[in-house]
């Protein structure tokens, strides 16, 4: 998942906590192994190496692709799982090294879900294009793990994968989880949220950005231009029933750039935006 993953649970016995942690870890590793674009031999690697051939995918992958299509539609084509190739020229390392306009433009023909043929369960990706489920995978894993806890009647648990998290129930004594949202520095949380139950996800560029001539370039890329969405908030934290919803709403809001707050307001969701 590219970040620390933890399970905080309240169980009567140490053994219960260990067992629950093992089951949650197993599910997290399963999802990582299956969908990480950094690993060879998994379904994503097979699709990306298909060189224009059609790939038949399993149900779970098909569900994730369907979900990605819904987001593609809802975001006016800004949420696009084929935009990962842009990372070949964009490295958000806090420096001022912007890519050349020509380099970005050269990649654009490889970006765009409209170029893909998706007839569940058959996916045909033009040669040179890639998909990346990283924008959904972590939130999906958190929800799946939270469901495992619920099915095991694991009591109050907090599944936290790098700040995207689900609380299954309020902790019995303290009656809320105190969640500190990481700010720009290690020491200072941006805010502290009392979470009784439900999901919390944060999108942000606390450390992933470029800064040149006083302009901050966020890591949220617009797939139609290949350039960062201008005026995106620095961080958006959303509360929702599931982590997938929370994460996607914060991502969609980020993609709205300067309209992010207006979008969130219209959604009627509980969230916080920092500029």
């Amino acid at each position: 998942m590219g970040s620390p993953c933890e399970l905080v649970c309240e169980t009567p016995k140490r053994a219960n906590a260990l067992e629950l942690t093992e089951r949650v870890a197993a599910e997290a590793w399963r999802i990582e192994d299956k969908f990480s674009r950094y690993l060879a031999g998994n379904i994503v690697a097979r699709i990306n190496a298909s060189a224009g051939a059609t790939t038949e995918v399993d149900d779970e992958t098909a569900d994730l692709l369907d979900f990605a299509v819904t987001l593609y539609d809802l975001s006016e084509h800004r949420f696009d799982i084929t935009s990962g190739v842009l990372r070949r020229v964009w490295r958000f390392d806090g420096s001022d090294r912007l890519p050349g306009a020509g380099d970005v433009a050269a990649l654009l023909p490889l970006v765009g879900w409209h170029r893909v043929s998706w007839q569940r369960p058959l996916l045909q990706l033009p040669a040179g294009m890639e998909i990346d489920l990283g924008g959904i995978g972590k939130e999906y894993a958190v929800d799946r793990c939270a469901n495992i806890v619920r099915e095991a009647r694991g009591g109050p648990c907090l599944v936290n994968f790098g700040g995207d998290l689900v609380a299954t129930e309020a902790p019995s004594r303290r009656r809320r989880w105190k969640v500190a949202i990481e700010g720009e520095s290690d020491a200072q949380p941006e805010r502290i949220i009392d979470l009784k139950q439900g999901a919390l996800a944060t999108s942000g560029d606390a450390r992933r950005f470029l800064l040149k001539d006083g302009v901050r370039y966020s890591h949220i890329l617009n797939p139609s231009t290949g350039w960062p969405v201008p005026d995106a908030p620095r961080s958006i934290t959303i509360v929702a029933d599931t982590c997938v919803e929370a994460g996607m709403i914060s991502t969609l809001a980020m993609l709205k750039g300067r309209e992010a707050e207006r979008f969130l307001e219209a959604q009627g969701v509980v969230g916080w935006c920092r500029r």
Binding site: D66, L71, D143, R150, I192, I193, D241, T242, V270
Partner: protein, 435 residues
């Protein structure tokens, strides 16, 4: 798609998430940003029996949390004091007349009754503020200021405390200092020590404003000994300098054989004291040392909090305090906490029940019962509960009983048949609300 209603996006997303996750309806999310302010308010009633002191106090403490473990704390307390307090004069078998501290009127105490000064009415307003923040990797600094104002007294103070953790935060060492600059403007002026109480209207032995400075230093160590036990030890040093006398307290000047207070005749046509009373006198310096030890023991949700304090000063008052609290939770939201406190002190070197006319006047003398030899016990019970919205209520009921003795060498003649150190009983009721 561009015309898509915003609100429907979240609905579509919720549906799509459900399909993706394949489980039943997810738990409804409940979250809010943690409140940055924390308020702790209380109402306190302290009532001594009979006509003695009653204090009604309202206080509020607001704590604002900032990022990076920084806190601002602001406090306000308003006290309303009424009732009477022993003036220091002893009982007599005849009525006694006193000039009020203001010097403007007189009052008479019936025969056999302990003379109380009933002009003790005051409203006190106190404010304080402090700022706390980490300093360095494992340090914490706290800077504060306080001020209070009442009719005849003003206090200004500043304090600073530094604490540092060692040993993976299992040991905390701290040092603090406090400075207090107080000024007194007693009703009617501060009397010159050991001068007589004069007739109404005679202010010839009154002085103007007086000052008092107090300097305190505290060193402490807190140690986590195990998962269940935390202990703390403190040493504190306190030096007071300035006008430490109580301007409203007197001593009876008595016959060295009978022990009865010497009579006095006011100037004809003027009200004035019927007997001879001298205003008390205390040294203008006081140095206190105290050591304090506390242990908190956690056992299955219950907490035993035991502490002991030893204090000694150069007025020769030595005191011992043992304080025990035992917090017993029941259910998730409630607890009871019995409280027991024992206190004992020796009298000040210059404590005198009265001043016999056969002996030369000492440099310092006070008949203030608070400087006498006494024991006190407090028995109390606190009950607390947490509401659904996570606010906390508590109610505390305590009874206080003080019993003192006057050294037999100070009891002269007829004084032996009187109650020279009457018992003091008080009740304390406190209601607290935290939100």
């Amino acid at each position: 798609m561009s015309a898509k209603n915003h609100r429907s996006i979240s609905l579509i997303l919720a549906g799509a998430s459900c399909t993706l996750l394949g489980a039943g309806a997810p738990t409804k999310a409940v979250a809010e940003e943690a409140s940055a302010w924390d308020f702790n308010t209380s109402l306190l009633y302290y009532g001594e029996d009979g006509d003695r002191v009653k204090d009604f106090s309202v206080s509020a403490i607001a704590k604002r949390m900032f990022v990076d473990d920084r806190y601002l704390t602001l406090g306000l307390t308003v006290d309303g004091l009424t009732g009477a307090t022993p003036s220091g004069a002893i009982r007599q078998d005849v009525p006694q007349t006193f000039t009020r501290p203001s010097g403007n009127a007189a009052y008479t105490v019936p025969a056999g009754v302990l003379p109380l000064d009933d002009t003790f009415k005051d409203t006190r307003v106190a404010i304080n503020g402090s700022w706390q923040q980490p300093l360095g990797e494992s340090g914490l600094i706290n800077l504060g200021a306080s001020a209070s104002r009442e009719y005849d007294y003003m206090h200004l103070g500043v304090n600073a405390r530094y604490a540092r953790d060692f040993n993976r935060r299992n040991t905390t060492v701290s040092a603090g200092i406090a400075l207090s600059m107080d000024s007194l403007d007693p009703v009617g002026g501060a009397p010159i020590p050991l001068t007589p109480m004069l007739d109404v209207g005679d202010t010839s032995n009154r002085l103007g404003d007086q000052d008092k400075d107090v300097f305190d230093v505290v060193f402490g160590v807190t140690q986590v000994l195990s998962r269940n036990l935390v202990v703390q030890a403190n040493y504190s040093y306190s030096m007071s300098d300035g006008y430490l006398t109580d301007p409203y307290k007197v001593l009876s000047l008595v016959d060295g054989t009978t022990g009865d207070t010497l009579l006095r005749t006011p100037t004809p046509g003027v009200e004035g004291p019927s007997h001879q009373f001298l205003f008390e006198s205390r040294p203008d310096e006081r140095t206190k040392h105290s050591i304090y030890g506390q242990a908190k023991y956690f056992m299955n949700g219950k907490v035993l909090d035991a502490s002991y304090r030893y204090m000694t000063d150069d007025w020769e008052i030595d005191s011992h305090t043992v304080d025990l609290r035992y917090r017993i939770p029941f259910g998730e939201q409630r607890y009871v906490e019995p409280h027991l406190r024992f206190y004992t002190q020796t009298e000040a070197e210059f404590y005198r029940l009265s001043l016999p006319d056969t002996e030369p006047l000492p440099a310092f003398a006070s008949a203030d019962y608070r400087l006498g030899n006494f024991d006190a016990i407090t028995v109390g019970l606190k009950y607390g509960w947490r509401t659904r919205s996570d606010d906390e209520w508590s109610i505390r009921l305590e009874a206080y009983r003080q019993t003192g003795t006057v050294p037999s060498s100070q009891v002269i003649g007829n004084q032996a048949s009187r109650d020279n150190y009457p018992d003091l009983n008080a009740i304390i009721v406190q209601v607290g609300y935290r939100f």
